[in-house]
């Protein structure tokens, strides 16, 4: 019996994904729940498990193709013995990397062309497959090829749901309207590149494309600027050194710096609600909850998991949440909903050694705090030069909503909270 492999639901806001990698080839044996391919969405990478034991009967969607939730990716011949696959090697990202750029997703043949080399399945399978969604009438084919708009992304009003020329034109119009609100992109130079032989060209991953788009959107929308201050970390470091062991013993989590920063920010966000608010149309939305995004760098790029209702968490709980995010981000195990929302973001460039930076807002938020490297520096204390562990702080903010005074106050208050952590305890 043939069982189809379909794109699973991946959270409410996600409707499509890119096929990143197939771990199996046609004819390979699979066990139920064994990952057979990997999908990339805007936010996370999802492994699609085999729905049954058997052998891969067909792979209908090539790597690099965009697919909708529910779309058929391929099929498994249930109970059929297959060849053992070299899946370990294929799953190694390095080995698979060059594959990413190879197949340009071809509009006309997503589901129609099947390699005929290994007819492992009964012919029943192909008859049951809906073919019309890849069959295009001439006008639709022309528009698809000229515009790059895939009919698979257009809902059809033709007979039995076929996509008509009118559907394509309407979709193009919608796309144009959407683009018109965005500034014209930089003109892409055409023609051969003079030194192409010594260059390498790769398709952007879905995550990278999304990062690029979001960051640019953020810059195009908000009136962003950055204010700086510096903080003397002596007290925090002393506190940390003193309680490190007992803290870890009691809570089972390392006492880091992040928790102090989060706590320090929450106190100030409550004082300066504009920084925790966002602009929506002509309205300002004030949020009476504090969901703090903590930027985490992974091999695939930057992601920002969100710690919810941080104001209600203890220092230990915050540290535990952040540590957990870090681990799971590296293992690619973060869930989509953990990456959505957030009212304020903290980014730590210090872990890479940055002394100073101007972070970009995580739209539609209005503020982002940049932490940096702690460096012993000579500072004047009571008119005497002392060496203190110093960190520069940066706050990028949306000047449409946050005034300069508020932004500066924000950093000053964060600085005060960190230089004298007892203030956090006393809430002053």
């Amino acid at each position: 019996m043939t069982i189809q492999i379909r794109v699973p639901a991946m959270g409410e806001s996600v409707t499509e994904a890119t096929v990143a990698r197939w771990f199996k080839k046609e004819g390979d044996a699979v066990a139920r729940d064994e990952p057979v391919l990997e999908l990339e969405t805007d936010k996370v990478t999802v492994e699609v498990p085999a729905p049954a034991d058997g052998a891969i009967e067909s792979i209908d969607v090539k790597e690099g193709s965009t697919v909708q939730v529910g779309a058929v990716l391929g099929a498994i011949a249930e109970g059929k013995a297959g060849k053992p696959s070299a899946s370990a090697a294929v799953r190694n990202p390095d080995a698979a990397a060059p594959k990413v750029e190879a197949p340009t997703p071809k509009l006309s043949s997503a589901g129609a062309s099947k390699p005929v080399a290994e007819p492992v399945a009964e012919p029943v399978a192909s008859a049951a497959k809906p073919q019309w969604n890849v069959t295009m009438v001439p006008s639709v084919r022309r528009i698809a090829e000229e515009s790059g708009l895939s009919p698979a992304q257009v809902s059809g009003t033709g007979k039995d749901g076929r996509v008509t020329k009118g559907d394509m034109l309407a979709a193009l119009e919608a796309r144009a309207a959407q683009r018109a609100t965005q500034p014209t992109p930089v003109e892409i130079p055409t023609g051969p590149r003079p030194r192409a032989d010594r260059e390498e060209r790769m398709k952007m991953s879905r995550l990278r494309r999304t990062i690029a788009l979001r960051l640019k959107e953020s810059q195009n929308t908000a009136a962003q600027l950055t204010t700086f201050n510096e903080v003397d970390m002596s007290d925090v470091m002393r506190l940390r050194a003193e309680y490190k062991e007992s803290f870890e013993k009691k809570h089972g989590v390392r006492l880091g710096f992040m928790g102090f920063f989060v706590k320090a920010c929450i106190a100030v966000l409550k004082e300066l609600p504009n920084v925790n608010a966002e602009i929506e149309g002509d309205d300002i939305v004030y949020k009476h909850y504090y969901d703090i995004g903590v930027a985490v760098s992974t091999e695939r790029g930057l992601i920002v998991p969100v710690v919810r209702d941080v104001d209600e968490l203890s220092l230990a709980q915050i540290e535990a949440a952040i540590a957990d995010f870090g681990t799971r981000a590296r293992d690619n195990k973060l869930k989509l909903e953990e990456l959505q929302g957030g009212t304020f973001t903290i980014s730590n460039g210090g872990v890479f050694g940055s002394l100073m930076s101007t972070p970009i807002l995580n739209a539609p938020q209005s503020g982002i705090l940049g932490m940096h490297k702690i460096q012993p520096r000579p500072v004047a204390i009571d008119n005497k030069v002392e060496i203190r562990p110093m960190m520069y702080l940066a706050l990028s903010y949306d000047h449409r909503l946050v005034d300069g005074r508020e932004a500066v106050t924000f950093l000053v208050r964060v600085k005060e909270n960190l230089e004298d952590p007892q203030r956090l305890l006393l809430d002053v």
């Binding site: 001439p138 009003t157 007979k159 008509t164 020329k165």
Partner: protein
């Protein structure tokens, strides 16, 4: 005990017999009742089929005399009207037998007799020999078709004053024929007798011929028919017919009122349309509702207001066309069988089988204007079509109307040789909600008349290539 059926179809025309066939295919036990004695209804017996036989043979006769000498063929054609009628009768006979065969093949019982609905689920038949028979059934489908519309003050006797039925069986070629009504029936039969030698005058109440057809087509069509020798008196009504010596005297009056005049003729053909046949079926008794035009009122699934009784074809609303009835038959039976039968009324073609033929599907320009739809037009004349040149049939043109915004084909109108066959591509396009560009980008064999349709479709977006 009465016979038990799933579906009993009243009427053996294109609606009725196709309903019975489809019922058989879907495993329903069915019967098809017809009172004529020969299945096939108006279409097969006294409509589409015999008229097409005469249109073909009369056209050959005219071509032999008028066209062949111009194409290098010397011949002397002589009319044998009886032989022509024999061909017609033979065709009708064969096709009628064919329908009976199809009913049998699909295990539908063909019953000759007059049917009356006694109650929902019960049909009484007065068989040919006068004996009664009662059929019990889960579903009744009324497919009784239509009849010739009478003209006030003129009684049809099928001798000197004929309907289409009589006009298909005249014993001699009348010297003069007066046709009342410039619809497709009048123009087709008028063409037949004109070709065979009659002087034909067509009197029409409206100020145009072929009401319902695209106005531009109708205007050109009238010009061509006039050139062929057909005379037209538009905006005129016929108020009476008297026998006057050897000929018939027809009284005319301007449609808007005014002085009467008379015109002498030998045969009067009344072809002012058709009316639904809903009499003598017991409809009033079982409470089936009719509209003001005496058509059976049905919903989109052909259900009447009475449970278990449905109606299809000419006896309900819509174009009185054999294929429309056939489409409804299929949808209706599929609905009965719990399937999703559906008729797309925007994609039903209509054809006038004169020469040139006129065929249309979808909306006319007038309809689009009235509905306020913005549209684009592409046109292509057969004078520029290679195949039309080779067969010396360059009259007419193809016209494609498409939505100005999304290019969807809304209407196609063709006048020219083979227009009735050419229109099918357009009907398919409309059914599939295709764009004019889809026709334009579909390969069309060369040299064929179909290329004119393609070139017209190209014209919608301004890239007609061969003109």
């Amino acid at each position: 005990m009465a016979d038990q059926f799933d579906v009993v179809v009243i009427g053996g025309g294109p609606g009725g017999y196709n309903a019975a066939i489809r019922a058989g295919q879907l495993g329903l036990k069915s019967a098809c009742i017809d009172k004529r004695g020969q299945f096939g209804g108006t279409c097969l017996n006294v409509g589409c089929i015999p008229s097409k036989a005469l249109l073909y043979t009369s056209e050959l006769y005219e071509e032999a005399r008028e066209k062949l000498p111009k194409l290098g063929i010397k011949t002397s054609a002589e009319l044998d009207l009886a032989g022509m009628m024999a061909h017609k009768t033979k065709v009708v006979g064969e096709l009628t037998k064919g329908v009976e065969f199809l009913l049998k093949k699909n295990r539908s019982e063909a019953i000759v007799g007059e049917a009356r609905i006694a109650s929902p689920g019960k049909v009484e038949v007065k068989l040919k020999d006068g004996s009664p028979r009662t059929l019990e059934t889960k579903h009744i489908v009324i497919a009784t078709g239509s009849d010739v519309a009478p003209l006030l003050g003129v009684s049809i006797n099928e001798e000197r004053i004929v309907s289409s039925t009589g006009a298909l069986s005249l014993k001699d070629v009348p010297k003069r024929l007066l046709v009342v009504g410039a619809g497709y029936i009048g123009l087709e039969l008028g063409s037949v007798w004109r070709r065979l030698g009659s002087e034909v005058t067509v009197v029409e109440f409206l100020d145009r011929i072929t009401p319902g057809l695209d106005g531009e087509i109708a205007k050109q069509f009238q010009r061509i028919l006039s050139r062929q020798g057909m005379r037209f008196q538009l905006s005129t009504k016929v108020t009476g017919v008297q026998k006057k010596g050897d000929s018939m005297s027809v009284t005319l009056e301007p449609a808007a009122g005014g002085a009467q005049s008379t015109i002498e003729t030998d045969i009067v053909l009344v072809a002012i349309g058709r009316i639904p046949y809903t009499e003598c079926l017991g409809l009033a008794e079982v409470g089936v509702q009719l509209d003001s035009k005496r058509r059976v009122i049905t919903d989109a699934h052909f259900r009447t207001n009475v449970e278990g009784i449905r109606a299809i074809g000419d006896c309900r609303e819509g174009a009185m066309l054999a294929h429309k009835a056939e489409d409804e038959a299929v949808a209706c039976i599929e609905n009965i069988a719990g399937r999703a039968g559906h008729v797309n009324y925007d994609a039903i073609p209509a054809v006038v089988y004169t020469h040139p033929e006129v065929a249309s599907v979808g909306k006319t320009e007038e309809e689009l204007k009235a509905a306020g739809v913005e549209y684009k037009i592409g046109k292509f004349p057969f004078t520029a079509n290679a195949r039309a040149k080779t067969i010396a049939a360059t009259e007419g043109f193809a016209k494609v109307l498409a939505d100005a915004k999304n290019d969807r084909v809304l209407g196609v109108h063709i006048m020219g040789a083979e227009a009735g066959n050419l229109i099918q591509e357009a009907a398919f396009a409309i059914e599939m909600r295709a764009a004019s560009e889809d026709i334009a980008r579909t390969s069309h064999a060369h040299p064929t008349l179909t290329e004119a349709v393609r070139q017209a479709a190209m014209g919608v977006e301004g890239w007609t290539m061969q003109m």
